[in-house]
């Protein structure tokens, strides 16, 4: 049961992280500013790497594992682009896209779709996080009982293990079955009553 809880917590944390990533990239964020301030005649950022900056608290969500964070950001961008990779250095990095607007004139439309997609995915993720948190809260009510059960079962198992280490050295069920098949074969049926309990 503790493993299940850890897994749920882990899933929730990963979703929360992803949700935070979307929020970071949603309208009003640094990326949004970059899109809206881009001029049609300016060179597209795609292919050259999109610079991103993360605050310390956000980076802390993923701990010291930069590779994991970069991988998640890459996956995030892949939701609206066929392929994206992210390289992080400290709390800054770049995101590169395989597919990009083919001309500067198509860039605003592409960016608008990009932002809308971010909104929708973010909303979906927030709902999933809420659902998971609700499940966790339901389980938390039983957590003291579960811990008590596990502790009691653990203590009993320890006692049994100790007893088995002393008593069970010569206990070999497979060998016993072989002996049974040699020694316990009858020549005639037992009395029928003998099989009644």
């Amino acid at each position: 049961m503790p493993e299940v809880i850890d897994k749920l917590l882990g899933s929730s944390e990963r979703l929360r992280t992803k949700g935070q990533l979307y929020k970071l990239l949603s309208p009003g964020s640094m990326c949004d500013t970059m899109f809206t301030s881009s001029k049609e005649d300016s060179a597209p950022l795609y292919g050259q790497g999109l610079p991103v900056t993360f605050g310390t608290s956000f980076a802390n969500v993923c701990g010291e594992n930069r590779q994991e964070l970069a991988s998640q950001i890459g996956e995030l961008y892949s939701d609206f682009n066929d392929y994206a990779t992210c390289v992080l250095v400290g709390t800054t990095g770049t995101v590169s896209f395989e597919a990009a607007p083919t001309s500067p004139s198509s860039f605003p439309k592409f960016a608008a779709g990009y932002i809308n997609h971010l909104y929708m995915v973010n909303r979906t993720l927030e709902h999933r996080v809420e659902d998971l948190e609700q499940e966790l809260n339901d389980i938390r009510a039983y957590w003291p009982t579960i811990k008590k059960l596990v502790a009691e079962y653990g203590a009993a198992t320890d006692r049994v293990s100790l007893a088995l280490s002393q008593l069970g050295r010569d206990y070999n069920p497979a060998q016993a079955w072989r002996i049974a098949q040699e020694r316990d074969v009858l020549k005639e049926p037992m009395e029928e009553d003998a099989e009644l309990l």
Binding site: L149, P173, R183, L186, E188, E195
Partner: protein, 212 residues
């Protein structure tokens, strides 16, 4: 109303159960078959029927479960009542010393009390039956489960006993252990029970697979 009874031989004519609870009488038939399959003279038709039924259940992937009670009764049968078991050994000892005979249980207690060393030596000749019993359940895919966790933390144990008591109270043909088997079969979420004990057939609303 009585239970829904289905002969082992008619198994394929009915919807298959997902989980079947095995009472000890069925497990004993199967154990007897497995021990004596090389000695046909020692087998009765019901042993073969139990084996065939088990083969069909296994082929269909039916979840086979028993309980602590199933294990206890099969172990007792094999180590005490089966030919050459402790009841026979106790009787042989008492005859050899010219002692009068009583019930098998009393003979065993007397043997152990009067000649503990001889009793221990006799036990060693059949002690393999304990391990063999456990191996038998394991090899036949019979999972022994029992809804009996800590009484401090749950009232399931009490619920099982309460249900068994009500069943025993209601059905005269059920023996005490049978009522506990039936109670646990429901608490283990089994669709039906396999047995050779015809007393089970009186218990509504259970579905019973049986042989005669």
């Amino acid at each position: 109303m009585a239970a829904t009874g289905i002969l082992f031989a008619d198994y394929s004519k009915h919807p298959k159960p997902k989980r079947l609870y095995l009472d000890s009488s069925f497990a004993i038939l199967l154990l007897h078959y497995e021990l004596n399959k090389t000695s046909p003279a020692a087998l009765r038709p019901k042993h073969q029927q139990a084996f065939n039924f088990h083969q069909a259940l296994t082929a269909d992937g039916v979840d086979l479960v028993g309980s602590v009670l199933t294990y206890h009764e099969v172990l007792h049968f094999y180590t005490f009542k089966y030919t050459g078991g402790m009841y026979d050994l106790a009787k042989a000892y008492l005859v050899s010393v010219g002692s009068s005979l009583n019930s098998p249980q009393e003979n065993f207690k007397l043997f152990n009390k009067r000649a503990p060393a001889a009793c221990a030596a006799a036990w060693q000749t059949i002690a393999h039956r304990v391990g063999a019993t456990e191996y038998f359940f394991d090899q036949h895919g019979i999972k022994l489960r029992s809804p009996l966790p800590s009484p401090k933390l749950t009232n399931i144990t009490q619920d099982v006993i309460n249900y068994a008591s009500i069943l025993k109270d209601a059905f005269v043909a059920l023996e005490a252990a049978d009522s506990v088997h039936l109670s646990m079969s429901h608490y283990l979420d089994s669709d039906a029970v396999a047995t050779s004990d015809l007393g089970f057939l009186t218990a509504d609303p259970f579905k019973i697979y049986y042989c005669t």
